[in-house]
């Protein structure tokens, strides 16, 4: 009987039912789009924040005053790939090794002592112990650097910083004397920082040239991290075993740095706080923001769906009054309308979910250039949520209608 009633009622009130479903569809769509966004925002934004540059600096360990003022110590070249073996290896999105030396450049009778840096611009190294490769080089840690021309591929050519290029009036293709040897300029580099006053050579070529085989002076690492909280700022040395475990297995910038330090022999790995500290704060703020927005839309659309259901039922008071006069108990009346409510809710939830997939995909591609990951889990959740809300929106007005004397309703005095 319920099936008949509900079916007939929908068939007869197609427009009204369609309006209700539409209302719930769009209400749910906003809420579930925001849920998708709030689940994805952390990951997306922390990737965006990587544009601020490396957040971990690996340098040789300092053992005495001599190390501080000039005496060179080095890291081992072969440890670079080991950074991709740590617990949080998948969070490491960029690695750039540097060998720092000096050189005197001369061109058109003008000379200057500048830093000669060995590094890679962009290349892929094989993953240790796995198939596949991972990207390394300056481009992976400092995406804002722009190279015009080509990167140095041997000891015969170099890349020069943009300030030097304009000062010496040279351009890619020209030659410049480096420590007395004329080298070809393969490209110029514009970083907007001190690197504009340095010259660059392929890492291995510079190692050979300077007789520093297997040595590097520092490594910059760009890693996706979890926002720092009070716990993260504690000194790991003072932690209990369980706390240390928790700290080690949370992707804090400090714990990732610690893990990197462990794989680079004789190193000290430190968060670059200017980047890492701000990153955590910005990330946390944005997460809270989107989370609150999500709550707000959830509340608004919950109430919205309820008003839709209430509006639908208020108009059927007469029907309810008649049913009551026929001797229907409140459960039976409620059952009829709740069934209708559930079906409307489920339909609205389904369409709303589909709509939200479209909306969040659009937002993802538009803002982050990549579609947001959809979670199939959200479909049953949305449908169940919409159904629950529409049940709530049904029960209330029915209760109200049950309180009103049928005699009043049936006489038409609403």
């Amino acid at each position: 009987m319920i099936a008949t009633i509900v079916r007939r009622s929908f068939a007869n009130r197609k427009k009204a039912a369609a309006l209700m479903i539409a209302s719930i569809t769009f209400g749910t769509a906003i809420a579930s789009s925001l849920i998708v966004i709030s689940m994805e925002i952390g990951g997306r934004v922390s990737r965006e924040l990587r544009a601020f540059g490396a957040n971990i600096l690996v340098e040789p360990e300092i053992e005495g005053m001599a190390d501080l003022s000039g005496q060179r110590r080095y890291l081992r070249y072969e440890d670079i790939v080991r950074a991709k073996t740590i617990f949080w290896r998948h969070n490491i999105v960029g690695i750039a090794p540097f060998l720092e030396t000096d050189a005197e450049i001369t061109s058109n009778g003008k000379s200057e002592k500048v830093g000669l840096i060995g590094s890679w611009y962009y290349k892929e190294l094989p993953l240790p112990g796995e198939t596949g490769t991972f990207p390394v080089g300056i481009k992976t840690v400092s995406p804002w650097w722009s190279l015009s021309g080509k990167w140095s591929d041997s000891a015969d050519n170099i890349v020069i910083g943009s300030s030097i290029a304009s000062e010496f009036s040279v351009k890619p293709g020209d030659r410049i004397d480096v420590d007395g040897t004329p080298l070809k300029i393969s490209g110029t580099l514009d970083s907007g920082g001190i690197e504009d006053r340095q010259i660059f050579m392929d890492l291995e070529s510079l190692q050979r040239l300077k007789g520093a085989g297997g040595k590097i002076s520092k490594v910059l690492v760009s890693a996706l991290t979890a926002p720092m909280d009070t716990f993260a700022y504690r000194d790991p040395a003072s932690m209990s075993k369980a706390e240390y475990e928790k700290w080690y297995c949370t992707g804090y910038v400090t714990s990732i740095a610690k893990q990197i330090e462990d794989v680079f022999k004789g190193s000290k790995a430190r968060p670059i706080w200017q980047v890492a500290g701000t990153e955590g704060k910005v990330l946390k703020r944005l997460k809270v923001l989107v989370y609150l927005l999500c709550l707000m839309t959830l509340a608004a659309s919950t109430l919205g769906v309820s008003t839709t259901m209430i509006m639908g039922l208020v108009q059927r008071k007469e029907e309810i009054g008649l049913m009551k006069a026929l001797g229907a108990g409140s459960e039976k009346i409620a059952l009829i309308f709740v069934t209708e409510g559930i079906m409307i809710g489920l339909a609205g939830g389904l369409f709303g979910y589909l709509l939200s997939v479209g909306a969040s995909q659009y937002i993802g591609t538009k803002v982050f250039g990549i579609a947001l990951e959809q979670r199939a889990m959200l479909l049953p959740m949305t449908m169940a949520g919409a159904a629950c809300v529409s049940i709530a929106g049904t029960v209330l007005p029915i209760k109200k209608a049950m309180e009103v004397r049928s005699a009043v309703i049936l006489k038409g005095e609403q």
Partner: protein
Amino acid sequence: MKVLSRFEIRRFLFFFARSVSQRKGRVVIASLSVMLAVAMVTALAGINSGIREKLGAELKAYGANIIVSPRNGDSIEAAALDKIRGIQHVEDASGQVLGKVFIGGYAIELIGLNIDRLKYSGWRFIGDRPAKRNEVLAGIDLRDALRLAPGKTLSLESNGGKADFIVSGFVEKGGPEDSSIIMSIEDAWELTGTNNVFSAILVRGEPGKLDGIARDIVRDVPAVAAKTLRQVASAEESLLSKMQLLMTLVTLIALFASTVSVASTVSANVFERKKEIGLMKALGGSRSQITLFYTTEAVIIGLSGGLSGFIAGYLSAQAISRGAFGSFIHLPQWMILLSLAMGLSIALTASHFPVRGAMRYDAAAILRGE
């Protein structure tokens, strides 16, 4: 619509008031749903208008995005600092003194700066910040190399002379600062034997306006070079504009979706009154009389929903801003007009179509209940 006489207006208002008071439940529900939509969109738009400023304030911690350095010689007159602070779009500027000091014969970098500003520029402190003259901070590498502890006295030598300093705490930055001594500008001047000069001025300009600021600095301050730090500048601009875009799209989608959602609720209100409309027609009500009736109701629903929606939206925007950024947000004044307009247009459009539809029906058919 023809101009109504005063009598007609009064009669209209009488019937209108009767109708609304008989159906206040529905009118309240309809304006409640308009309110919800308006509140959501108002809050989103409010956050949207403030997100740049709020996030920008967070990004300040990335520090200076323009570095002003001397073009000739090795110092900038202190007066340049005030000039730079006066340039448009400059949010903050502070001077730095760089030098060398010797500790037990080893040369160490010395950085003199305005200690109060340290907290904004992404340093991590261990121990206390210097509270008075002759207190200094040591970089964390220096601490490890010298096995320093807070309160320890350091004897520093420079071309200006020699003095004892007390280490109040340590800093970690993840850069060359980690092996330096950091002290107040006044101490640095005294120690290095200089006065009222800076080695560099660090400028924090509004993201997106940096090139203009750098140009203005070079024009207004003699003998300096200004360099924008692209690392900070471009990443900031990109992040801010992405977040702004995100908020704008979310707002637009919410605007669209909640409009449709609410419009269907509100039009259900009129839709189910076909019978009433049929009756009015049967009683000889003209098209414009009937339309006026429902339009007035829609205006009331729209205005009350829009106004209460603005209030609810304003409060939620403030609550959200408070929660996310720890500060209130400034909502532009025109937002209230926007909210009212949104409420009105939802309610009017939503009741227009069903009324027009009902007008087209045969009154007899409606009254028979078909």
